[in-house]
């Protein structure tokens, strides 16, 4: 109960924050673009659109993010603010081909 109260208290802060949008497409078990450059120090709204029929899981240990992207679906993942650097990510369900990097600068 306390947890819920705490949550509802903190909700508006996140909603008010401005963010920058970037699009990432999954096609034939590959990410397009494979390298995505984003500004450092800013919150990023990553739109991941899966054009394949099969589900994929966006996973990045460097970004501490993990999310299933169902087949033919589009989802939103918020990342950052990031310090400058390279942040690799993979599609866990097709790790051999689905690889990419987010470059914050």
């Amino acid at each position: 109960m306390k947890l819920l109260l705490l949550l509802s208290f903190l909700l508006p802060i996140g909603v008010l924050a401005a963010d920058t949008e970037y699009l990432l497409i999954i096609k034939d078990h590959r990410f397009q673009p494979a390298e995505l450059t984003v500004p450092a120090g800013k919150k990023i709204k990553l739109i991941v659109a899966n054009r394949d029929a099969t589900p994929e899981e966006f996973e990045s240990h460097a970004l501490n993010r993990e999310k299933v992207v169902p087949g033919k679906a589009t989802v939103t993942i918020f990342i950052g603010p990031l310090s400058p650097g390279r942040y690799p990510f993979v599609g866990e369900f097709n790790e051999k081909t689905a690889q990419g990097t987010i470059i914050a600068q």
Binding site: L3, L7, I13, G71
Partner: protein, 272 residues
């Protein structure tokens, strides 16, 4: 095939660890096995459902439905584990002294069993739905070797269950009077770890501020995808790059459950 086995093993491991610990913790509760089995079956059925509706869930709330769903499932599991631990601190001693025949113990035991049912069901539901999705993707993608990959899936599930059983068997070797202290501590850490994961999902959905991300970085010393990293993630919620908010949730749940356990334990000690 090997790659599939590894992925499925990772998904199954977390649920298997929880079930192993919870089974040992409720060892002396009457009717435990029936509820445990029912929980696993309900969780599996739920996994199928969640996997089938995953597209709908993912696109709900403008693309953050999955995070909200996961955070909710984790939140309920944390509350149930907290309840379990508090209940055990006041009844564990009686159970250890074999109070099976006492009517009130059985009645209370039934309530405990419904908690057991929910916790196990939710654990299987969360990890199971991702496994179902992955295996569905594997079998749906045309090309050769999909049966070999399904075999890999079965190996992965088997390996996960084995680790869960190993921790269960290991805990049962602990003498009864220390068993509840041991499982109580493990469940406490499980709950705190789950709270931290729930926070991570809410940050990912931008519903919570991260408060310094990451707060620290131990990914070179102990990577999350190493065997030890995975085990610690499942057991104590290890996260090599936690956000500040995750630590706030972790500590909040850890301290409030620990304090409630202390309070639940106290009156009984005085009367006995």
């Amino acid at each position: 095939m090997f790659g599939t086995a590894v992925i499925v093993f990772r998904e199954v491991l977390e649920a298997a660890l929880l079930i192993g610990i919870i089974s040992a913790a409720t060892r002396a509760v009457p009717g435990r096995n029936r509820w445990l089995t029912a929980g696993i079956l309900a969780g599996l059925a739920g996994s199928g459902l969640v996997a089938a509706f995953t597209g709908t869930i993912a696109e709900m709330a403008s693309g953050i439905g999955q995070e909200i769903f996961n955070a909710l499932v984790l939140g309920i599991a944390v509350l149930m584990l907290a309840w379990h631990n508090i209940w055990m601190s006041s009844h564990g001693a009686a159970l250890a002294e074999d109070a099976r025949n006492v009517g009130s113990a059985i009645r209370d035991g039934r309530r405990e069993c419904s908690i057991l049912f929910v916790v196990v069901g939710l654990a299987v539901l969360r990890e199971g739905s991702e496994t179902v999705l992955f295996l569905y993707g594997v079998s749906a993608s045309d090309g050769s070797g999909s049966s070999a990959m399904l075999l890999g899936g079965i190996i992965g599930i088997g390996a996960g269950i084995s680790v869960g059983y190993a921790i269960y068997a290991g805990l049962l070797r602990i003498p009864m009077r220390w068993l509840f202290a041991a499982t109580g501590t493990l469940v406490l850490l499980l709950a705190a770890g789950m709270a931290s994961q729930a926070a991570r999902f809410l940050i990912q959905a931008d519903l919570l501020p991260s408060l310094a991300a990451p707060l620290w970085d131990t990914s070179t010393a102990l990577p999350e995808n190493s065997v030890l990293g995975r085990l610690l993630h499942g057991l104590i919620g290890y996260d090599p790059r936690p956000a500040g908010m995750q630590i706030v949730f972790y500590m909040f749940v850890l301290v409030s459950i620990a304090l409630s356990m202390k309070m639940a334990n106290r009156p009984q000690r005085n009367t006995s």
